[in-house]
């Protein structure tokens, strides 16, 4: 059973790249365009009985940014332990603190390296097959 990953980013390019990298690694990617849309897609996934195994989210997004999105996900009881990785261009130290304060599980700095991304997902979500 492959891991289902929800990736939220307002850049189409980054969404495309994430989809490609995740699919190539054998994950099942779902994408959303901003925080609000991310919550909708998350809801749908949960409703379909296929909640994501991990979420990747950008920070700077219209309508609802990454911090707001993480807050909203964490506010739900059933997602309080959902692994959430922040994908951002922000500089590392500052980012770690901010991301962590908002409840993120981990962080990846853009541009992301697919190998590292997959490893990070496995690190926070466990290996799907194992």
């Amino acid at each position: 059973m492959s891991l289902k990953i929800l990736a939220v980013d307002d850049s189409r390019t980054i969404r495309d790249m994430l989809k490609l990298a995740l699919a190539q690694a054998g994950f099942e990617p779902q994408v959303a365009e901003d925080g609000l849309h991310g919550l909708e897609v998350l809801e749908d996934m949960v409703d379909d009985g296929t909640p994501p195994d991990a979420i990747i989210t950008d920070i700077n997004m219209p309508r609802m940014d990454g911090f707001g999105f993480i807050d909203a996900v964490r506010a739900r009881d059933d997602h309080s332990a959902m692994p959430i990785l922040v994908l951002s261009t922000e500089s590392a130290d500052e980012l770690k603190a901010r991301a962590r304060a908002s409840g993120a599980t981990g962080w990846i700095v853009k541009p992301f390296d697919p190998v590292k991304l997959v490893r990070a997902i496995n690190m926070v979500a466990g290996k799907g097959a194992a």
Binding site: D10, L20, H37, T89, A92, R119
Partner: protein
């Protein structure tokens, strides 16, 4: 087909960039108009930010560098440390221009003149003082490709001589409560360590309280893991990267080190160094970071072929709460993209093919209609009414297909606003640029080919059209010149206007210049309009000396021929002291047009419907003779010159009397009219345009050709061009007797 997904994503990245640049431009325009709403500023910031993000993914260093510094300055406005003054916004516009250039250059793999880039960057940096320098230094770390790369760096360790004791790592790890609440899971980390080599895990229960006191959310146990591996400590530390500060962690290298590996001492990631929120947790949880390290000697690792030790299984996993196994609802609309319309990206080639096929369909339908007519099938028969519906459907399909390629002219207008900024700065004039109708849609292929002629005309408006600031003030006008660019649909065509509120064309100067250059014989009387049209003569330039702007080797003659190549026309109207307007009239698409099929001199010809304002039959009483060769027709108090189409095209000599002939009244862009005489009007219908330019070059008066229902080829006329060339040969402009 998608052979290289990355190449596709790269291509779509550049399309996204164009969109982002467009919204940046919009945002800046809004800010310039006084809208400094935080969301407007955010939109601008995000546009630059997203470009940076994507650019980083493709290693476009120049783009990342510029976008980052630009973004940093914008961030100052976002967080209120910098005022969005007019000057600042003007600078942002320049920044957006440079960004646009770098995006283009990156896309086309070209290098860019760094002087402009650096100049703009310098000005941007000046806005925020020294701050950017720091950012710049930081940037080196952040955005150098994968400086933070955590790929195994195994070159040295692989090359290093392997010696007696098998190398390994000893890790002590004790999670704090926050580790769990952030969604991290020690089990997965321990599992990840297995990738490094054979691991042996020992659970440290020393902190485990009595069961009654146990709080599952708090980390009460730790682990000691020994790994038989050549991996460096950094690789193990990487596993714990996300929990830095949320745990007690020590990693030591064990075994005999290979020579040349300098980092012998264990690195200790000191749990709580810089994260303000962590200390209480760690200290509250465990007073001491296990002070009694397990004998390190115990590390000689098991032989690699031994069965893998199962990774620590007794993990308290408060994190693994049951996921809400919600009832599988019937929601299948997964892509509820927030408000945005769903779009599909399609290769232009595929659309071209569709357009061509629809063209064939239109021709085919014409042939079918003709066959039905020839077979003498009555009009109320099933065949005829079916054909009628087929006709309607064909038209609907054709319109829908054309709509696929239709795009608003907005992007083009934004490019023009940049041209105004640059050219006004260059000639030192202060210019306001106003656009209207930027949502007007035209065929994409037309838009692309409009960029060059429009650029030239906008430059002309700024350089030649507008007076100098002193000149304006002297003339009692506002110091700021105004250049207006509008687009609108008019009877199946699109009309673009470039208007300036300058001094108008100085006709005496223009005429003298043309005489001096030998373009016209001296002393010939000419109408204002004829003089204005001299601007379109090859080799004409009104600039007294060739300025930087006008000396680009492109004249209005080139502008006109490129507009004509699009099936369009360009006309000038000018009023002294008030300004000059250039109008471009274009077909909406280059593929199909509504035409009037006429017969002239025994030949079948097509006249675009859009240029015909009315048709009538000539009566002797309406006609007047003017001079030798010119006849006029009176149409509602107005005399309009008659032009015999067959004669003009050389099909036959002029007739003695045109009484009873059909006349197409052609309205020109400058509101003058002409009467085009034909033998008879055949029908009105859609024709598919087949270009002749490639085979025959440009033929005056002829726009293109088409295939008729009977399979014959007919020429499509450009009546305005035909009339204009007739007019100039006779120096006989339209007369407006009614005033």
């Amino acid at each position: 087909m998608p052979n290289d997904p990355m190449a596709e994503i790269r291509a779509s990245f550049f399309i996204e960039c164009e969109e982002l640049l467009e919204s940046l431009q919009d945002g800046l325009t809004a800010m310039d108009d006084g809208d400094t709403d935080s969301e407007t500023i955010n939109v601008c910031f995000r546009a630059v930010h997203s470009i940076k993000g994507g650019a980083g993914a493709f290693g476009l260093e120049d783009l990342v560098r510029f976008a980052h510094r630009f973004e940093t300055v914008m961030d100052e406005i976002r967080n209120g440390r910098l005022e969005p003054t007019r000057d600042t916004i003007a600078l942002f516009f320049r920044g957006a221009d440079v960004l646009y250039d770098i995006v283009r250059a990156s896309r086309d793999g070209e290098s860019l003149d760094t002087a402009t880039t650096e100049a703009v960057l310098g000005d941007l940096e000046a806005l925020v003082g020294g701050v950017i320098e720091e950012e710049e230094a930081e940037e080196e770390i952040d955005f150098a490709p994968m400086t933070l790369s955590l790929d195994p760096i195994d070159d040295d360790s692989a090359d290093a001589p392997v010696e007696a004791t098998p190398p390994g790592l000893l890790i002590r790890f004790h999670p704090a409560a926050e580790l769990f609440s952030s969604g991290n899971e020690p089990r997965h980390m321990l599992a990840a360590l297995r990738d490094l080599g054979e691991i042996t895990t020992t659970c440290d229960f020393s902190m485990l309280p009595a069961l009654a006191d146990l709080v599952p959310e708090e980390g009460s146990i730790g682990w000691e893991v020994s790994i038989a591996t050549n991996a460096k400590k950094e690789e193990a530390a990487e596993v714990f990267e996300f929990v830095d500060g949320l745990c007690e962690l020590s990693i030591e290298a064990t075994g005999t080190p290979s020579a040349g590996l300098p980092d012998l001492d264990s690195i200790v990631i000191p749990g709580t160094v810089d994260d303000g929120e962590a200390p209480e947790a760690a200290s509250g949880e465990e007073p001491e970071p296990d002070p009694e390290p397990e004998p390190v000697a115990a590390t000689p690792t098991p032989p690699p072929e031994a069965a893998p030790t199962p990774a620590a299984k007794p993990v308290p996993a408060p994190a693994a709460k049951p996921q809400a196994a919600a009832p599988a609802g019937g929601k299948d609309s997964k892509q509820a993209a927030g408000g945005a319309k769903a779009t599909v990206r399609v290769d232009l080639d595929r659309i071209e093919r569709l357009v061509n096929l629809v063209g064939e369909l239109v021709i085919n339908q014409a042939m079918l209609s003709q066959s039905v007519a020839e077979a003498g099938i009555p009009a109320n028969s099933a065949v005829s009414s079916g054909l009628e519906e087929f006709l309607q459907l064909t038209r609907d399909i054709q319109e829908s297909v054309m709509m696929i390629r239709a795009q608003p002219v907005k992007s083009l207008f934004q490019r023009m606003s940049r041209i105004v900024r640059e050219s006004s700065a260059m000639v030192g004039k202060s210019v306001r640029f106003i656009t209207d109708g930027e949502q007007t849609e035209i065929d994409k292929t037309v838009i692309e080919r409009l960029a060059d002629p429009l650029t030239h005309m906008v430059r002309n408006a700024v350089d030649h059209g507008l007076e100098t600031t002193e000149g304006r003030i002297a003339a009692g006008k506002p110091a700021d010149g105004v250049v207006t660019l509008t687009a609108a649909h008019k009877s199946g065509r699109v009309v673009l206007e470039i208007k300036d509120d300058g001094g108008g064309i100085n006709r005496e100067v223009v005429k003298a210049k043309a005489e001096e250059k030998g373009l016209i014989p001296p002393g010939v009387p000419m109408s204002d309009q004829e003089i204005d049209n001299l601007l379109f003569l090859p080799g004409f330039s009104t600039a007294k000396e060739v300025s930087d702007l006008s000396g680009r080797g492109v004249g209005m003659d080139v502008v006109r021929s490129s507009i004509q190549a699009l099936g369009g026309r360009v006309t000038i109207t000018s009023e002294p002291g008030i300004g000059t307007t250039f109008s471009i009239s274009l077909p909406l698409t280059l593929a199909v047009l509504d035409g009037m099929v006429v017969e002239a001199g025994g030949e079948i010809l097509v006249v675009p419907l859009g240029s015909i304002s009315e048709t009538l039959t000539l009566q002797a009483s309406d006609m007047e003779q003017l001079g030798a060769g010119t006849q006029l027709v009176r149409i509602r108090e107005e005399f309009v010159p008659i032009l015999d189409m067959a004669e003009k095209l050389g099909f036959r000599s002029p007739l003695a009397s045109y009484e009873g002939s059909s006349v197409l009244l052609i309205a020109m862009e400058d509101n003058t009219r002409s009467a085009l005489v034909v033998d008879r009007i055949v029908e009105q219908r859609q024709v598919v345009i087949k270009g002749l330019q490639e085979s025959y070059g440009r033929i005056p008066g002829i726009a293109a050709a088409t295939i008729l229902g009977n399979g014959r080829i007919a020429l499509i006329l450009d009546p305005a061009d035909l009339i204009a060339s007739a007019g100039s040969s006779r120096t006989m402009p339209a007369l407006d007797l009614a005033g």
